[in-house]
Symmetry: C2
Subunit: 202 residues, 2 copies
């Protein structure tokens, strides 16, 4: 078993934090996004979408998509639960994981993809859409601050995959100047707490 990843990219970080919280160690193999090794034919056989991370199982099966990789380990090592416990809690965690992905991480990533020199010539960049993403992300941080007024973590009183997605999404916002506002005290307190966990350095 091993995981293809690239340490500087946001999605592989989600899986590394998840594994650290679970206390699981998996060998990591770097696929260099900077030199577009993820677009070479041998890697496209592993993941036709070209994305990282990808989990390779011992039987040769490849699991792409960070949340799918996390799901695999949630099933094989349920403790501590990071996707919720019981029908209602699992649904709530999934709702928040998706909100953090669609409203925060996709927006900070969309801002970077559409405006950075890194993606110039690699994808059809639309700078105006990058600005839309940036504005959306900033608005969502304001909202998230109000949500965190009455609970410790994103999906309730327990740390879950939703916190991981939010942390990675917000931290990646630094690439285009998207930051937690000084007046966003609840979000600042949460960010300080999740960043202090050893997993955040994974």
């Amino acid at each position: 078993m091993k995981i293809y990843e690239f340490t500087q990219a946001p999605n592989p970080r989600r899986v590394r934090i998840f594994l650290a919280e679970k206390g699981i160690t998996v060998p990591l193999e770097q696929v260099n996004l900077a030199t577009a090794d993820n677009r070479k034919p041998e890697f496209l056989k592993i993941n036709p979408m070209g994305g990282l991370p990808v989990l390779e199982l011992d039987d040769g099966t490849h699991i792409a998509e960070s949340v799918a990789v996390c799901r695999y380990f949630e099933e094989t090592k349920p403790e501590p639960p990071l996707f919720g416990v019981g029908a209602k809690d699992k649904a709530i965690v999934e709702m928040w994981q998706r909100r953090m992905e669609l409203e925060i991480l996709s927006m900070t990533a969309g801002s970077f993809r559409n405006t950075s020199d890194f993606f110039k010539g690699r994808i059809p960049q639309v700078k105006e859409y990058g600005e839309v993403c940036k504005n959306a992300a900033l608005k969502r941080l304001e909202w998230l601050d109000t949500e965190l007024a009455n609970r410790q973590f994103i999906a309730g009183d327990r740390y879950t995959i939703a916190d991981i997605t939010a942390l990675v999404g917000i931290d990646f916002g630094r690439t285009t100047g998207i930051k937690i506002g000084e007046n966003q005290k609840n979000l600042g307190r949460w960010h300080q707490a999740v960043s202090s966990r050893p997993s955040a350095k994974a």
Copy 2:
């Protein structure tokens, strides 16, 4: 228990098909997107994101996000399994559900949102980004056709939530002229098969 939804929109259709496959009936309450009832203060208390569908449980809990709603019912009524069985299969289904959402549904929806009169004045539309989405969707349909050469359904030999997301995503493409090509025989065969299931009319 009830579900807030809007029959013409793609995400509520995902949940209706899922429930039909499970043989579950839940009362539906319409929230009119055409008159922006989902942006009114009383609905934003139910889902601050304004999206549909939302499941309301008998204890007053609101579960937004279509996949989270589906997850709730997968947990409360596991048969027939639509999210996979066992760690590896669940991870594979999640990978394909995400690919169908990110590569197909998000692209057909992105094409519509950024170019249609329906969203004019509601969101900051970027027509050029709508074209990027349309081109991406068309390219992904070509790829999906090759993937379906050797298996019956999107995630393997069993119908799953990945088929639901793909069906809804592809059908929604009609709004902006994104269609399965006549030469895409595998994809055409699959589309015919999943469209023939009674759930497709839900």
